[in-house]
């Protein structure tokens, strides 16, 4: 009975994680298209949801281990128990909701790894974590992803503006908007094939560990269907708070920048995952947008917002690990503790939604800028704005 309860809770929270993953990452693919008006907000999330759903069905191969080598699993290592997976997922979901509430794009996979690391440390000690792998698979790629995508997007944006004479040739704005929609759709499809699969893997490996499924078999059909639906539903509901940050607050994205940024994201994600050097979708797209801002005007990037996002990335792993560790500590003691963690996680999740409703961001007001960036905007992007701005604005010789 205990095992059945644990497995049920893992499945439920894994689907909740999948939902927050879609919810969080809609912004990666669609924020720039929404910001430039290439797609109406509701249309954008619908396209992204459908492509995520399709993507989830296209790719159903699951990894051999839950943590991809970050935790020393298997022969001579620790056994990742369903309770540890449950605790790790609690950490990941709560961290995803925290960053959503703050409107910050952060990597869902890093949150999951963080949660699992915390749970493993509590469950099996520090030795269970393979720290060199944490460095090579999480820390360094997190530094390299935005750098690569940023440089690529910078050059592409510069080229796009040069060739179309600052987007003044007839039809170029509209043309870039169409192009942007296509690149963004590729990002969405790629996201569906990568991310739904992660949750399928977690559920399948839990079922195998609990003996409900033969070792070495693939995800069951109900697992595939429910993961695909959870990520698509999350995408459709849409993390509008994050979308506003990505589309309007880092830079106020214009069509040529959106096209260059999305093309850079799509190319970087596809090429990196095919040459065996996987990079996080969130970090690639955020880097692309900063690069697209730099490619047009150096001063128009809101570095304060970029700083907050970077801080969130640094904090993601330890924060999720802390919650995951705490959850593992309480949940591993008794069935009552396990249920207690589930109830606390539910209450925590609902609290975020409750507080978010006090100042909601939705499809209606996603493109409005707030106080903080409006001030910065008059400084950064309005040419010849005012004497007050002259110290920070980079003179372009016009």
């Amino acid at each position: 009975m205990d095992a059945f309860l644990t497995v049920t809770l893992v499945v439920v929270i894994a689907l909740a994680f999948d939902f927050t993953n879609g919810f969080h990452d809609t912004a990666n693919a669609m924020a720039t298209s929404v910001a430039t008006g290439a797609l109406k907000p509701k249309v954008a999330v619908t396209i992204s949801a459908v492509l995520n759903l399709v993507g989830a069905f296209l790719s159903t191969e699951v990894a051999k281990t839950v943590s991809d080598g970050i935790i020393r699993e298997g022969d001579g290592g620790v056994r990742v128990t369903p309770t540890m997976i449950f605790a790790g997922l609690v950490g990941a979901v709560l961290w995803n909701l925290t960053t959503w509430y703050l409107g910050l794009p952060s990597s869902s996979s890093h949150a999951l790894f963080g949660g699992l690391i915390g749970a493993a440390i509590i469950g099996a000690g520090f030795d269970s974590v393979n720290f060199p792998v944490v460095l090579s698979k999480i820390v360094l790629p997190a530094l390299l992803a935005p750098l690569v995508a940023g440089v690529v997007a910078l050059l592409a944006t510069y080229a796009a503006y040069r060739i179309t004479k600052m987007a003044s040739t007839r039809g170029s704005e509209a043309g870039f908007r169409h192009g942007q929609t296509v690149s963004a759709s590729l990002v969405s499809l790629a996201h569906g094939t990568n991310d739904a699969q992660k949750t399928m893997g977690v559920i399948t490996l839990t079922l195998i560990a609990a003996g409900y499924q033969g070792s070495g078999s693939g995800p069951q059909f109900w697992v595939i269907i429910s993961c695909a639906l959870a990520i698509a539903l999350g995408t459709y509901v849409g993390g509008w708070r994050i979308m506003r940050t990505v589309g309007k607050r880092i830079i106020d994205v214009k069509a040529p920048q959106g096209f260059a940024a999305e093309t850079s994201s799509a190319a970087t994600i596809l090429i990196s995952s095919h040459l065996g050097f996987a990079l996080s979708t969130t970090q690639v797209t955020s880097g692309s947008i900063v690069g697209a801002g730099l490619g047009k005007k150096l001063a128009s990037v809101h570095w304060g917002v970029v700083g907050k996002i970077a801080t969130a990335w640094v904090v993601t792993l330890p924060a999720a690990a802390l919650v995951g560790g705490l959850a593992a500590w309480v949940a591993s003691g008794s069935t009552l503790g396990l249920i207690g963690v589930a109830v606390a996680a539910l209450a925590g999740g609902l609290a975020f939604f409750y507080f978010a409703r006090k100042h909601p961001v939705n499809h209606k007001n996603v493109n409005e800028t707030d106080e903080e960036t409006r001030d910065a905007e008059t400084v950064g992007s309005t040419a010849g704005a005012g004497a007050a701005a002259s110290t920070t604005r980079i003179d372009e010789g016009k």
Binding site: L140, T164, R170, A267, L275
Partner: protein, 107 residues
């Protein structure tokens, strides 16, 4: 199609990897992503410019640099159009290749 398990081996870091990162693969990713993106964006932008045939948008962009642009006469010709569509074809080919990369059933 469904329910088929393909176990991915945990790839071992190759010789010469520093800090566990295969920097050779990283440089290749960077170079290919850069080339592909810049090629697609340059061709697409060229296509848009050829399609416009030298005409400028009457609405100036935020800089106000193109305030008098509406008066420019469009010079559309067959050659320009053919060039524009060739440029767009490069973009379309890149999208198809992207789909090929995304969909595992193709390889």
């Amino acid at each position: 199609m469904f329910g088929q398990l393909i176990i991915r081996p945990l790839t071992e870091a190759p010789e010469g990897a520093f800090l566990g990162v295969d920097w050779g693969a990283f440089v290749v990713v960077f170079a290919v992503a850069l080339l592909a993106t810049v090629a697609v964006v340059v061709f697409y932008a060229l296509g848009l410019r050829l399609l416009a045939g030298g005409a400028l948008d009457p609405v100036a962009d935020s800089d106000g640099t193109a305030a008098t642009a509406g008066t420019t006469v469009a010079r559309r010709s067959g050659v320009r159009l053919a060039g524009a569509y060739t440029c767009f074809a490069v973009g379309a080919a890149a999208v198809l290749y992207g789909l090929y990369l995304i969909i595992p059933q193709f390889h």
